[in-house]
Symmetry: C2
Subunit: 198 residues, 2 copies
């Protein structure tokens, strides 16, 4: 790869180490970056460095943020008695984008996976239980609909049930706007089981 120059090749190499960025994309990005005005590139470089330096976990929900509490936990108009449990900050972002959820979150940073040797102590479960000592009415488990996500959901529900706090799970079903013929059988059966009266 050294037909450009040491520096450009080095940039391509470093970009290619990012997830989902192959050599070709890294090359495209590198050429784009060197063709940008110098002040824009300085800004990008500085933002990367500064963001990394200041990032931390929200003291309440453990999402990534750059202050003691994240904007959601800081927001007094949110319903702090309803906690949605998600696996990652990206899942939090997905629900925030709907603009309809008014509760707060708890980010586990993973899911229980006996296969990968990830147990209940390796994710932020103790921290969730600690939060339930406060005034919490409902825990909505929104872990992924995968083996690991379901295992985690079951574990959480068993853990919380004795406290008397309501534990719910987001629904499985046919995606809105999706053709039935393109939906897998397990989802179709779940959609049937979860049917509601019209």
């Amino acid at each position: 790869m050294d037909f450009f120059s040491g520096r450009i090749s080095e940039l391509i190499e470093q970009l290619a180490m990012l997830p989902g960025i192959g050599t070709k994309t890294a090359q495209r990005l590198a050429f784009h970056i060197v063709s940008l005005p110098e002040d824009k590139v300085e800004k990008l470089s500085r933002t990367i460095s500064e963001t990394r330096k200041h990032v931390r976990y929200c003291a309440e929900c453990f999402t990534l943020t750059d202050s003691e509490l994240c904007p959601v936990c800081r927001n007094e108009r949110r319903d702090h008695g309803t906690i949605m449990v998600v696996e990652t900050p990206r899942d939090l972002a997905a629900y925030e984008k709907t603009g309809k959820y008014e509760g707060v979150y708890h980010v586990l940073h993973g899911a229980i996976s006996p296969m990968l040797g990830i147990g209940p102590d390796d994710i932020r479960l103790k921290e969730l239980m600690k939060r339930l000592e406060g005034d919490v009415k409902e825990v909505i488990v929104a872990t992924n609909s995968t083996l690991e996500g379901e295992t985690t959901a079951m574990y959480i529900s068993r853990l919380i049930r004795p406290t008397g706090i309501r534990v719910t799970r987001i629904a499985n079903g046919v995606p809105v706007g999706g053709d039935l013929e393109n939906v897998d059988e397990v989802t179709l059966l779940r959609a049937l089981e979860g049917r509601t009266d019209l």
Copy 2:
């Protein structure tokens, strides 16, 4: 997008301005970056900034590099009498990766496009003609197989023909390893026209 923090949102925004990076990918990249060890992030940030500062065009072939001449033009073992004309440094990279081309390059930085108002003076054509005053045997036109690339190839061939230097065009045909049924008709016809004796 401000449910993380000003800084993380700013990083996502800046990454999303890169070509081919949508909001979701930018988010994934941002989370990856903030989860990396701080020294790795510093290195990435510095490489981006340094590369941009030192990048320039090769004085001979106009590819991007960080010294007066690029590694290809500097290499005395390359055949400097054969010049392959490409649209972008990425095209140069593609041919360099074959490891079989022994000549040098000329990067036009674009192609003639009446539609986009890009004329012969907007790409590095004058610089190509200047190079032909030296000892050049052949110019291989390897612009893209698009309307713009073909227009540029025709223009270059007409420009060079009076000099007596050989001008060739890379072949159109069926991609190696490709199924005929997946190849478009124009390519199939070009492959037929370009057939060679076995």
